[in-house]
Every structure is written in C-alpha cells, then in structure tokens.
Amino acid sequence: MASLTGASLNFTSLSSSFQRTQVPLRGISNVNSVSFQSIRMRPGSLRFRVSCAAKPETVNKVCEIVRKQLALPEDSSVTGESKFAALGADSLDTVEIVMGLEEEFGISVEEESAQSITTVQDAADMIEKLIKSKDA
C-alpha cells in the first residue's frame, strides 16, 4: 500500500497537475484510497518529489547495478545525481549498464531512450516509466 501511494504521488508531481488529481490515477484500480491519500500528502511532499521522480528503492537498485558494472568499491558514493561519465564510465560502459538494468528489471529500453541516459536518476526515471507502461 505504501509503495502504491508513493507511485501515485510521483506521478502527480511529474505531470505537475495541482488541481487535476484524477488524471494520473486513471490506471489505478483502488482509486478512492489513493486519491484520498494523495490529497492529504500532497502539500508536504510535492516540493521534494519534483526533483526526484523515481522511487528511492529504484534509485538504490540502479546505484547498486552501476557500482557492480563499473566495478566500483562498495563504499563509493553513487547517488541519483551521479553522472555515469563522472563515475568513469565511457559510452560502452553506459551501454552495458543499460543492458544490465534491462535484465534486472525485466524491461526493454529502446535505442533512442538508451542514448539519452546519462545519470542514475535518468535511468531510474526511465525504468519506472517503462514498468508503469508495462503494467498498464
């Protein structure tokens, strides 16, 4: 339940619809409880969520995979803002990272979007988008 709420909130802030809370909820079956909670929680969390659309779990998982792929030490700091290039990845590494993410999350990234991914956050946002469209 908690994660469902989180997802709907993210979506709300993404589409920046302050009044039209119905729009992002279309795909969710349990509309009543979700819309209720999103109304209740919106004021506090919206500000934070704007810059961070993907769920923290997703971001963390992506960080982990990136670390593994680039053979970075456990304690190296990889965050949502980390750019692959800044972590020492070249374009071939980036391809490998995206391929690794595809397998981990069971998604398929298109050529076009794969090449626009340059940060952990980009990757996490895209994964959530793809998972959502897969479930819908």
Partner: protein, 98 residues
C-alpha cells in the same frame, strides 16, 4: 538539466554503440557459459578498437561496422553456439598493423 548533458554522440558513434548493444542482446540468447565468453570477446574487441582506431578514420570504422554487422547476423543464428564467428578478430589485428 538537459542542456548540461554534454557528450553529443556522432552518427557513427551511435552506430557503433547500437552494434555493441546488438551483440550483447544476441549473447543473451546463448547458454550462460557461451554468453560469458561472447561478452568478454565482444567487449574486448570494441574496447581495443575504441582505443586503437583513429576516430577520424571513417573508412576503416565503416569497414569495421560492416564486418561487425555480418558477424552479428551470424551470431544471431541459433545454431551459432560459441564465438567461432568472432574468432576472426585476430586477423583484424594484423590488418590494423599493416
């Protein structure tokens, strides 16, 4: 946010990356052990060429792209188990030196 992305890729770089992705995808359909081997050979080959080949040597890169595509087609064949099609790489090594 979008503006600071830097690293604009040329059309040719995109082709190379797309070929690399194609190889990795094809490798997925092979048994685990073959897959590891294919991945390591392919990765080594791309990395070696990325360092050795002059990025302005378009003719040669185009040749490598064409050759790579052919090898990828062979690899995609379900009958191709291992890396035999990719073992041509050492001969390419000689070519680069001449």
């Amino acid at each position: 946010m979008g503006a600071s992305k830097g690293q604009r890729l040329s059309g040719m770089q995109k082709q190379v990356l797309s070929l690399y992705r194609g190889f990795l995808r094809a490798a997925r359909s092979k048994p685990t052990e073959d897959r590891r081997q294919i991945e390591s050979v392919v990765s080594a080959e791309f990395r070696r060429n990325s360092k050795q080949v002059d990025r302005k040597n378009f003719l040669y890169i185009e040749y490598l792209l064409r050759r790579g595509k052919k090898q990828l087609d062979q690899l995609k064949n379900p009958d191709t188990m291992g890396i035999s099609s990719l073992n041509v790489s050492p001969s390419q090594n000689n070519k680069a030196k001449t």
